[in-house]
Symmetry: C2
Subunit: 375 residues, 2 copies
């Protein structure tokens, strides 16, 4: 006896990640998985099928999926895939149910037990399964590199016989996992760094990464880790302070995202117009529409003398490492439900109970609320 | 009385730099310069004409050049510009005489006193005028950023609850100014760094930047700072060692350039074929044809699972800082020849004597030999 696990080749444009990497194969085998992958699943990150040992590759996706007890993917699969799955089988991937009503309906119709990776709760025990965090960390690192190749200036102080230049000023807005990693990376490169978040408890983390914290004098803490709505007066006060910092920055990185939802606007058109000539914004929330009013998701906008980069699906740009971490996150989740070569789901386990989206034809959460306020 | 100085708007494709920046204006004025610039000269680095005080902007290049005692530029100017200059006037810019026979002939015909920035001698006193060094430092920094945005992996070690990834291995070949800055930058980012150069005296510098030094057991020191030709046996020995290090690297940065000459080949097609899947080469010597047999200057080559970036004119990609340093280098050179509002060239000054290319209709150097073996 064993658990038949199938790994899809991703089909969304520009998606390079794959849900299983060679280093995780032996661990899944040990749990009792019999592994099948779609041919070429790792090609986008230059992993040939031959790089996987103990995995059966199948060219026909229909055949691959039809036999699977568990299907693993990164992005929400095509509806066709769900149709091809066995009734009652398990799907584990990002889903973003808000954006995928047809997919959710099909998961219900087919009685698929679907664990949505973006629903992993942010509790200590679940950190090893938290793909939003692992992918966001990579995105934060990448945003700095992207900004550095676009900016006409260097981040560190460089000293030459003719004089010194730099360091550049980097402002990171939104201090979740991505924002903190961006602060850490810019600091490593020698930039002068500033962090901003509506949650004052992030101040300490910013300081520990060598950054200063932008103090607006307003405490926006609300219920359950969410920011509360500010009053008109408070908003005006915050805007004045932020404008000053935005205008002093050479590179601004914004990271405020609610997965699957529209991203909040942190930078107005007026604030962009007042920025330094040559300044660059890297908007990590382009997938949700962007944190800046001038952002054009998936494109580079040249607004006056300011350049705004808004790359989509940034973790995929670091596909090798992103796949490595994602695969480990999925393994850790599977380890909660696989034992002695069978799947057995303990619905009293908080992680599984909160991560599941659909089961036995039922929606497992009325309000499909993702858990993060800041990527 | 004053010295009429004219600054050109660069015309070569993709050249963003400008030979004068606002911070250097007051210094030149103090030396006795009356400054004129071609309209829009700073536009490519987002410097509006209005950003320059005490500079007269002129839309007509012919008029600008005709009156100038000194013409400043970054790239070798068009022949037309030389034709429009006053006989006996001074031109200061990069020239690369080997590649510009028609330009050199015209400089002679017009009796232009031409100081070629690439000819500034590498002596201590001349460091503040050394634009090859200042521009190379920027290129070395940029190469790492470019590699980091192309690599599917992160350079630093990143620790997540699901496990740690990185650090990546970065090999820098050619430890001139660019190579050392690349080592410093990759080290700052948290990569494991290795340096290689045929000149063993670079070992200490590599070590001081946190890198290890690739030891080949062969001492290639020759006369006057140049590397000597190796024997066939020696070459084979070196190749074996280098192949091992090239194949272990995630990112290789090559910097071996002789300005104005064809770049030496450091990486063979066979060595590329043996590299890790997903590895990236950034070839900083693309302007000279590249250090790798698979390099396609100005393009990105995908050779098997390896990506080779070969950007042209890399300092121009950091145009703001590159212009700042270049302008300071030119100011320091001008300060040697301007005093009390007149130009007076002391031909006994080693720097001026070595930097001059043409004067009063004569070639000032038989062998037009640039000074560097490694950018």
């Amino acid at each position: 006896m064993y658990v038949n696990v199938a790994v899809l080749k991703e089909t969304q444009p520009h998606e390079r990640r794959v849900a299983l990497v060679p280093s995780v194969v032996p661990k899944l085998v040990k749990l009792g998985a019999k592994l099948h992958m779609q041919a070429g699943a790792g090609n986008a990150i230059k992993l040939a099928d031959a790089a996987f040992k103990d995995v059966t590759f199948m060219a026909d996706r229909k055949e691959l999926v039809a036999d699977a007890d568990v299907v693993l993917a990164v992005q929400p699969p095509a509806l066709e895939v769900i149709n091809q799955m066995k009734e009652g089988a398990i799907l584990i991937s990002f889903i973003y149910a808000n954006r995928e009503p047809a997919l959710v309906q099909l998961l219900l119709d087919k009685k698929i037990t679907c664990f949505a990776m973006e629903r992993v709760p942010r509790i200590t025990r679940a950190q090893a399964m938290d793909a939003l965090s692992s992918q966001s960390a990579l995105a934060g690192y990448y945003a700095v590199q992207l900004g550095a190749t676009t900016l006409g200036r260097v981040l560190p102080k460089i000293t030459t016989a003719a004089g010194a230049i730099g360091p550049a000023k980097v402002l990171v807005m939104g201090l979740g996992v991505a924002g903190l990693e961006a602060l850490a990376t810019a600091h490593r490169l020698g930039a002068v760094t500033e962090g901003y978040d509506v949650r004052p408890e992030t101040q300490e983390q910013a300081l520990s990464l060598g950054a200063t914290f932008v103090e607006t004098g307003i405490d926006a803490r609300g219920k359950g880790g969410y920011a509360r709505e500010l009053t008109v007066d408070e908003k005006a006060k915050v805007a004045v302070v932020l404008t000053r910092h935005i205008q002093a920055a050479d590179l601004v990185i914004t990271t405020a995202a609610i997965p699957g939802r529209v991203a909040p606007k942190l930078i107005s058109k007026e604030q962009v117009a007042g920025m330094k000539a040559g300044a660059v914004i890297v908007d990590l929330s382009a997938d949700g529409g962007g944190n800046c009013e001038d952002t054009r998701p998936g494109e580079t906008a040249h607004i006056g003398q300011v350049t705004i980069l808004a790359p989509l699906n940034v973790p995929s740009l670091l596909g090798e490492d992103a796949s490595e971490l994602y695969s480990k996150n999925q393994y850790n989740l599977l380890a909660l439900m696989m034992k002695d070569n069978v799947v057995k789901i303990d619905w009293d386990d908080e992680i599984l109970a909160k991560t599941v989206l659909t089961h036995a034809g039922e929606m497992k959460s009325e309000a499909v609320t993702p858990h993060a306020t800041s990527a």
